[in-house]
Structures are given as C-alpha cells and as structure tokens.
C-alpha cells in the first residue's frame, strides 16, 4: 500500500504542478476570476427575477413587467459572459509576460469582436448575444490566447513609431501599443476573411461545430462527470487542492453548459444539460466542501467519542457550513489515511449518480445555470441553483447517503482515537502515582 501511495503521489504532484503552472491554464483560471463578480451579480438577478410562486402572488401581468425591468441585469452580464472572460484572459496572459496588461485585455476583446458575426437575420450592425455568451466561449478563449501571444510577439519586435525629440514622453508612449495592436488585429481580420470562404462562413461556426459542441456533449454525460469527480477526490487524498486543479481544465466546459441552460431557462424552454458548473459546485462541492464533509461533521457529532474528533467537529463545523473544509481534510485527517480512503472516493461517486439520476428522471430539475457562490450553505445553494425546493431536498437526502457510507469507517477511526487517548491517560496516571 505504501509503495503504491508513493508512486501515485510521485505521479500526481507533477501533474498538479504542470496543470497549475501552465501559462494558459493559469490565465484561463484567473480570467474567469476576473469575470466572476460580474457573473455572480447577473446570477443574483436571475434568481430574483424568477422567484418561484411570485407569479401566482402578484398576477401574470405584473410578473411579466417585473421580469422585464430586471432583465437587463442578467442580459448585460451573464448573457455576454464570454466578453468578460476574454478581457480577463487577455489581461492576465499579457500580465504574465510583463506587458501592458490592459492593452492585452482590450486587444483580445477587439480580436474576438472582429471574428464575431455582425449580421442577425439580415440586419447588419448588430451582434447576437448568443455569440457573446455560451456559444462564443470557446472562440473567445482561443482568441484571447492567440491575440495575447501575437501582441507580445509584436511588442517584443520593438515596433514603435519614432517621435521627434520635442514630443513629451507620455505622448510617444501612447503610441507604443499602436503598431503591435494594429498588426494583431489585422491578422484576426485576415482569419475572418479566410473563414468567410469556407462552408462554415465564420470562425464561431467552425469552433462551435468542430470543438465546442462535441466536447460539451461528452463532458455533460455521467461517465465523464464521474471521472472528473474521482480526479478531484484523488488529488485531495494526497493533500492537493483537487478542485482548483480539475477546474482549471473543466471550467470552460462547465461554464458553457451552465450558460446554455441559463439561456433555455430564461426563454422558458427545457434545460438541455444536467451537468454544468452548478451541478459540481452545489451538488458535489457545496455540501460542506470537496468530498461532502458536512456529513462527516454530522457523523462526528452523532457518534464521536474520542476527544480528538469532538474537538475537530467543533473546529470544522462553522467553516464547514460555508463549504470550507480544510480543517476536516487535514485534521481528521483524510489525507493519506487508508481508513477513510473508501468513503472518501465512494461517497461522491454515489452522490453524483443519485443526483444525475434524480435530474434525468425529472424528480429534481437540473441546475438552471445561475452561478451560486460556492460558499453558499448547503440546501440553500441546491434550492437556488435549481430554482426549486427539490434541489434542497435532494441535498439533504444526499447528506444522509454520505453519512451512511462514512458511518462504519468513522466508527473505526473514532474507536482508534478513543483507545489511544485512554491509553495515554492511564499511562499518564501511572507516571503520576509512581
């Protein structure tokens, strides 16, 4: 067992290191972080605009008007989410290269807009929010990467317009970004023109058909989700932040899936995906943290006899309510602890299957795509994420399931701690009396 653990740790550390220190994945993650406050603002107003039962309370017409006036809050943020992510990625990647980050950000946005179709139903001069939102996400990410690279390349070539010596420094510096941006954007215009003569007509169509749609279809399925969940758990078992490592790869897909659901939700249509950002954040992580340790805390309070566990329960509970669970992970400990390996790996998979099944059969509606901050307490976050009370009930049920999976293992652990505490006490007494 020890040999096996060593091999695995030696394999996982470099993977974590590579994923986390990969320039593009870091920029991607940090870029999403830039967009997050805006995404959450929009999500809050989607929740407020779609409060359950409100239509029955104030009447159909008043409800429609209520939704109409609140609409711009999400239309101006969530529906065009890709734009914020693009600026974020362009900014963060350029920052990593030590360039003028803000130019990297806006150049990425401009490059993306150059690629974006600007005709909707024969009306020119309009951009569909569809291509700025979920459907534009992948094009946007690639565009931001490429434009930031091009911008850096041209800046490195030291292309500056030489000003006469009498010109103030501030003026000549403002020209320093001009040529690199011009060259970068010209290349994107070229790309757009090239695609115009292919059957896809736009880059957006091409990426959506060839990359985004197949990838998201695959990732929204149950098998891929179980693999992702298992990866999170195994990283954490070795004390590495599994969530942040797996998210750096999966977030673009999970966010796209969430946004497609959101578009359908706002249009009153059937939600296309079961798995999305909130499936993971609310139903897998949002039950006390990675590994659903809220159930473990409850277990400690119910069956814990040892002092060590009881102390840990008191320490971990307040943070656990807000889904911060490092005290439990490192204090129980869960890390490298063979006794808890089985429940740690098994419980999230069972919960994933139950949650998926409940949503696939329609017992519980899938997450609407609103982004609920991961620190939102459990049951509440499930209800908000699905805009239904069923979401909260499902979480409560799942906590019970996790508790049952953990129960025998927690008892073994508790017994061990209890016995060693007893031993210590008696040996202490003997020493005192002698």
């Amino acid at each position: 067992m020890n040999k096996f653990m060593e091999v695995l740790e030696n394999f996982l550390m470099p993977v974590a290191d590579r994923l986390n220190n990969n320039r593009y994945l870091t920029a991607l993650r940090d870029g999403f972080m830039v967009a997050l406050p805006i995404i959450i603002f929009g999500s809050i107003f989607v929740v407020i605009a779609n409060l359950p039962f409100l239509d029955a309370l104030i009447g159909e017409d008043a409800y429609k008007e209520y939704q109409r006036v609140l609409g711009p809050a999400s239309a101006g943020t969530l529906s065009i989410m890709a734009t914020f992510v693009i600026v974020g990625i362009g900014y963060k990647l350029t920052e990593q290269y030590g360039g003028e980050a803000i130019y990297g950000g806006v150049t990425a946005l401009a490059a993306f807009l150059i690629l974006t179709p600007q005709v909707v139903d024969d009306v020119t001069g309009v951009i569909s929010t569809e291509s700025l939102g979920s459907k534009g996400m992948f094009v946007g990410i690639f565009t931001a990467f490429i434009s930031a690279e091009l911008y850096r390349y041209f800046v490195g070539k030291d292309l500056t317009i030489k000003m006469p010596s009498g010109v103030p420094g501030a003026v000549s510096r403002s020209f320093s970004a001009l040529l690199p941006i011009t060259f970068t954007l010209t290349i994107f215009l070229g790309i757009r023109i090239l695609f115009l003569y292919t059957p896809f007509e736009t880059v957006q169509n091409f990426i959506y058909t060839v990359v985004q749609a197949p990838l998201t279809a695959l990732s929204s399925g149950l098998p891929a989700t179980i693999v992702a969940v298992l990866m999170i758990q195994i990283f954490w078992f070795f004390g590495l932040h599994g969530q942040i490592i797996v998210n750096s790869v999966m977030d673009p897909i999970w966010y796209s899936l969430a946004n497609e659901n959101l578009d359908a939700f706002k249009a009153g249509e059937q939600l296309p995906h079961i798995v999305n950002k909130q499936f993971i954040d609310s139903f897998i992580v949002g039950m006390g943290g990675s590994g659903m340790t809220l159930a473990v805390i409850i277990g400690i309070f119910l069956i814990g006899k040892s002092r060590q566990l009881k102390e840990l329960g008191k320490l971990g509970a307040p943070a656990g309510i807000f889904n911060v669970n490092e005290p439990i992970i490192f204090g129980l400990p869960i890390i490298m602890n063979p006794i808890v390996f089985i429940p740690w790996m098994l419980a999230p998979v069972i919960v994933t299957i139950i949650t998926y099944g409940a949503m696939a059969t329609g017992i519980v509606p899938p997450p609407t795509g609103v982004i609920v901050p991961w620190t939102t307490p459990t049951i509440l976050n499930g209800a908000i994420a699905t805009n239904s009370w069923q979401g909260g009930v499902l979480q409560a049920f799942n906590i019970g399931v996790v508790f049952l999976v953990w129960w025998p293992f927690l008892q073994v652990l508790d017994k061990r701690y209890y016995e060693s505490e007893e031993e210590e006490e008696t040996s202490g007494e003997i020493r005192q009396s002698s």
Partner: protein, 101 residues
C-alpha cells in the same frame, strides 16, 4: 512589526488561521500583521510581507512562489498539514517567526 502573508486557493481556509495566529501573537506579545489572500493575489502582496506561508493543499505552487519570493527576498514555506487541520495558530506563528529570523 512582522508581516506574515498566508495564501491558499481562495484565501478562505487560511483566513481561519489568521484569527488564531493573531490571538497567539497577542498572548506572546509579538507585534504582527497577518493576512490571508488567494493565490493570484499572493504574487503582488509578497512585496509587503516578511514571509509567505502556503496552505498544504497548494504545495504544488511553491516553485512558482519561490521565484517571486526570491526576487523580493522573503522566505516561503508550506504550513504543516496537522497544524493546518487543527487551525493551530500558535504553531504556525512560531514557524513564521522562525523563518523571518
């Protein structure tokens, strides 16, 4: 005045430690400024700190932090997992003070 910077993924779990470390510092009578940030913020905040301690779950970031820390000239280390789990402010504080020297 010792300035101790803690970093984890979102600055959440390390912020639990901050409170406990401040309590420990008060008992010891050490004047300390202790704060916790998310990992991306840590790169910038290092300039203002005397030492950087990383949550054990982010230990794969050490190499990246060390580069910048070397430039700023401050020590970097990983918080002991057990002390982290027990939110043992005193242990982490004395480690930080040791590192500052």
């Amino acid at each position: 005045m010792k300035r101790i910077l803690l970093a984890c993924s979102a600055g959440m779990s390390t912020s639990l430690l901050v409170t406990k470390m401040q309590e420990a510092a008060q008992t010891k009578g050490v004047e300390c400024e202790i704060w916790a940030v998310a990992q991306d913020r840590a790169m910038k905040d290092m300039e203002k700190a005397d030492v950087l301690l990383i949550g054990p779950q982010m230990r794969f970031m050490k190499r990246k932090f060390e580069k910048t820390a070397g430039e700023v000239g401050i020590p970097v280390d990983i918080i002991d997992p057990m002390a982290y789990g027990r939110v043992d402010g005193e242990a982490v504080l004395s480690k930080a003070l040791d590192l500052i020297g």
